[in-house]
Symmetry: C2
Subunit: 201 residues, 2 copies
């Protein structure tokens, strides 16, 4: 029976104990030649592709329904909240980001789709970390009568998927926030861009 995830304790992480992340002191010379120091976090898991992660904007087309996308809800310990995010995941050591996109979408949501676009490498929070990613577009074409597929989650993954018509996405995110969930900044910016194009341009 699933129970609410709960943080037991938060301790300082000693540098030599960190397995997934490393913490760096970067000494650099700025544009005037002055020596400065920057503190940053770095994932240790980056593989051959040179890209930490992918996220997926899915377009589900169906003969009788509005074009929809998939978002996921999962608990995230660093923010102690259920986050609303695009399907996403780390790129495996020898995998391409394009392959990772189709694989992650399938594992997290059950949907098999066709990659139609992948962005250049972009950086998630470049004032704080070296974390980078690519944003993929994957299209799923459904026929009438197709049923919802099963998710293929790893053991210990608790991920809720939600299919949302694209023209309702922005309002849905506003609603999730009101309910106490926390929206991922990248998903928010994508939905805000669509909303902005509709209302401001």
């Amino acid at each position: 029976m699933p129970q609410a995830p709960k943080i037991q304790k938060i301790e300082a992480l000693p540098t030599d104990e960190a397995k997934w992340v490393e913490f760096q002191k970067i000494t650099w010379h700025d544009q005037t030649g002055k020596e400065r120091v920057w503190e940053a976090a770095n994932r240790k898991t980056r593989g051959k592709a040179g890209v930490d992660a992918v996220a997926i904007t899915t377009v589900i087309r169906h003969p009788k329904r509005k074009p929809s996308t998939i978002i996921i809800l999962q608990y995230r310990p660093p923010v102690d909240a259920v986050c609303v995010e695009l399907p996403a995941g780390l790129v495996d050591a020898k995998e391409t980001p394009s392959d990772a996109s189709v694989r992650e979408l399938h594992e997290e949501t059950g949907f098999k789709g066709k990659l139609t676009f992948i962005s250049p490498t972009i950086v998630s929070d470049p004032g704080l970390s070296s974390a980078n990613m690519q944003l993929a577009t994957v299209e799923v074409n459904l026929k009438e009568g197709d049923t919802e597929p099963e998710q293929a989650l790893d053991d210990g993954e608790f991920i809720e998927r939600v299919v949302v018509p694209l023209d309702e996405l922005y309002e849905r995110l506003v609603q999730y926030d009101k309910e106490g969930k926390t929206v991922d900044a990248r998903l928010w910016h994508w939905a805000a861009g669509m909303h902005f194009a509709k209302t401001m341009l």
Copy 2:
């Protein structure tokens, strides 16, 4: 004479030396009751508002020009690249995120605008850090003959501002990437959302 910024050395950052960021070992119980550990980064600078940072989507209106926005280019040591980003900055200890948005836009770009919207608190990279932010919309209304204002940068800040027509933003980001600059994920998602609304819906 400005020179290219350059990294001298990257060392492991000892936990007790970190000034701006802290590194956490989070012990939590998952949905099955199993004890797990998560490694995360945390900013130490969060003030009264409970929000680390703001970013600003600006809309510049002018009687004779297309609606435009402002993006900024600056060197970021964690990724050792010139990043293309929305104007943004940390919220001061006693400041509201709304006030920070108008202040940061003015300091980084010289433009004084009116806040028309601010998002709920969203999280920048919730698998890796607790970093959070709010995304503001600020409108700048120019009259014919208004000249470009001066930036009000802090000592040691080297920030290039670029005014871009909103309907050219996505292509401009693609171009910056080709030139070897690195686009911030949140800016990319916002522009991709606008582009997606125009081309896919």
